[in-house]
């Protein structure tokens, strides 16, 4: 593997979780995320010659991801209503600000999923294991779509709170 290839793989590996999260937010489903992410990775590799190493890599990769998502939309992919360009740019900046330590907090995710109440865990499974949209989950569980949407929001809030409390506990333990 030559130096340039090593460099791009190293940068891409570090950036990939944020790029994946950004793309997932734009396209709404894991299946589409994977397709757009693949297109993004190819574009990053192909255009790496134009990347300025003096500048941060993540915003450059996120810009390519924005274009890949827009290309998918132009090709006829059924994507959710898009955010404005200004909003997407603001999100790019926010991802750039997120530190790797923020992403490391997600190490607590597995334990926190296990701690979810049974119904929240079921909604979580259907949404993420099967990549189902709320309307389909509602159909399967005999609930209203709006109820499922609220349940998904509640489930993610519970997970966020659980992760934060575990991080705090770990930090307190480390300080002693």
């Amino acid at each position: 593997m030559d130096n340039r290839t090593q460099q791009v793989f190293s940068l891409w590996t570090a950036a990939q979780p944020a790029v994946s999260a950004f793309v997932h937010a734009l396209v709404g489903s894991a299946a589409l995320r994977d397709e757009v992410l693949q297109d993004t990775a190819v574009s990053v590799l192909e255009s790496f010659g134009s990347y300025d190493p003096a500048r941060p890599f993540l915003p450059w990769a996120l810009t390519i991801a924005r274009r890949a998502a827009a290309d998918a939309r132009r090709r006829g992919a059924r994507l959710p209503t898009p955010l404005s360009d200004a909003a997407q740019a603001s999100l790019v900046a926010a991802f750039e600000d997120s530190r790797s330590s923020d992403r490391a907090r997600l190490d607590h995710l597995t334990d926190c999923i296990q701690a979810l109440p049974a119904q929240q865990r079921e909604v979580c499974e259907l949404r993420y294991r099967s990549d189902l949209q709320p309307a389909r989950i509602a159909e399967l569980m005999g609930l209203k779509p709006n109820t499922v949407a609220k349940s998904l929001q509640r489930m993610r809030e519970l997970l966020r709170d659980c992760i934060q409390s575990r991080v705090r506990a770990a930090e307190a333990g480390g300080a002693r």
């Binding site: 997932h24 299946a31 909003a87 603001s90 999100l91 900046a93 997600l106």
Partner: protein, 331 residues
């Protein structure tokens, strides 16, 4: 009126679930563009959302890897979803012979071993909304052209919506489509040669049996009509499958095999649904649902049984579908 933070958070969750409508998108866009703290919050939420997806994906990959390593190579595992589309093709060929109480895996096992017989003709419908009860259909849902299909088409591709597909195992099919100007485009294979006939053009033939199969739903994901055993075996590996009993009161007169693609299987339809008649033992309908959308094409394709009339062998050859004076190009 400025939306409150609570409402904006709900909109952010709706965005992640793909349910954000136009007005919600405008509100959220305006807020994100001017509020870096909100953008940071949404970015963290998006990281959690994506990590959840990967967490569940990783669990399944781990489970399936253990199950499959004995039988399948890593390469074949990576191609599982593409291969499972072959199941769709095979099911059209084979018909289904099973008791109503058989388990889904029993059904699959029988399909693997099942001798194929007879001709079946299906009407294809392109569906824009994945709603088994009342999907809206569209008339302009032409599939993305494959390389092979591009050679056939000139201008706008003929639609698969309303197309008629007749199949016989092994390797025989005839697909009749209509283009935007009402002209018929017929493609098929007689087991030895693939061919395509345009109403106003030449006849093309090829020894590559899959040369003109690009228009058949699923073929762009490598739907092979040539190696059904492997593909059937992949059904259980790539999809979570179950049998759903008939529910006439709910508009479901036939029992169904319902398959949901596992997260580690890539590239095929997310859902497969096969309705079969337990007494006459044939597939009544099939849906390839939630097809990959990154390159366009319909959201879902329905196959509805039209008839089981036997066709003469010559029906699967190109000569049955054009006059004798048409020029023939052998590729």
């Amino acid at each position: 009126m400025n939306p409150d933070r609570h409402h904006l958070r709900s909109l952010a969750h709706a965005m992640l679930d793909g349910t954000l409508d136009e007005s919600g998108s405008e509100l959220l866009s305006d807020a994100l563009a001017t509020d870096p703290a909100l953008a940071r919050e949404v970015a963290e939420l998006a990281l959690l959302h994506d990590a959840l997806s990967r967490e569940h994906s990783a669990a399944i990959i781990g489970r399936n890897t253990a199950r499959r390593l004995a039988a399948w190579s890593i390469v074949r595992r990576a191609c599982a979803a593409a291969a499972v589309l072959a199941v769709a093709g095979v099911l059209l060929w084979t018909g289904l012979r099973t008791s109503p109480t058989a388990s889904a895996s029993d059904v699959v096992a029988r399909l693997v071993a099942r001798a194929r017989e007879g001709d079946r003709t299906y009407t294809l419908r392109a569906v824009t909304v994945d709603d088994a009860g009342g999907g809206r259909r569209r008339r302009d849902a032409a599939p993305v052209a494959s390389d092979a299909d591009s050679a056939v088409g000139r201008g706008k591709q003929p639609s698969i919506d309303g197309a008629i597909l007749t199949v016989r195992d092994p390797d025989r099919y005839v697909l009749v489509r209509t283009d935007s100007e009402g002209r018929r485009v017929i493609s098929g294979c007689d087991g030895n040669r693939a061919w395509t006939v345009r109403e106003d053009g030449t006849v093309r033939t090829s020894k590559d049996l899959r040369r003109f199969s690009g228009a058949v739903p699923g073929s762009k994901f490598d739907l092979p009509f040539l190696n059904p055993g492997d593909a059937l075996a992949e059904l259980g590996a790539s999809y979570d499958i179950a049998i759903v009993p008939a529910a006439p009161a709910m508009g479901q007169p036939w029992p169904r095999i319902v398959g949901t693609r596992r997260v580690d299987a890539r590239g095929g339809p997310r859902d497969i649904e096969i309705a079969y008649d337990a007494s006459s033992l044939v597939i009544r309908s099939m849906r390839l649902g939630n097809l990959p959308q990154a390159r366009g094409g319909p959201r879902a394709v329905d196959f509805e049984l039209r008839d089981e009339w036997s066709q003469p062998d010559s029906f699967y050859g190109h000569a049955a579908h054009h006059t004798a004076d048409r020029p023939i190009i052998e590729e």
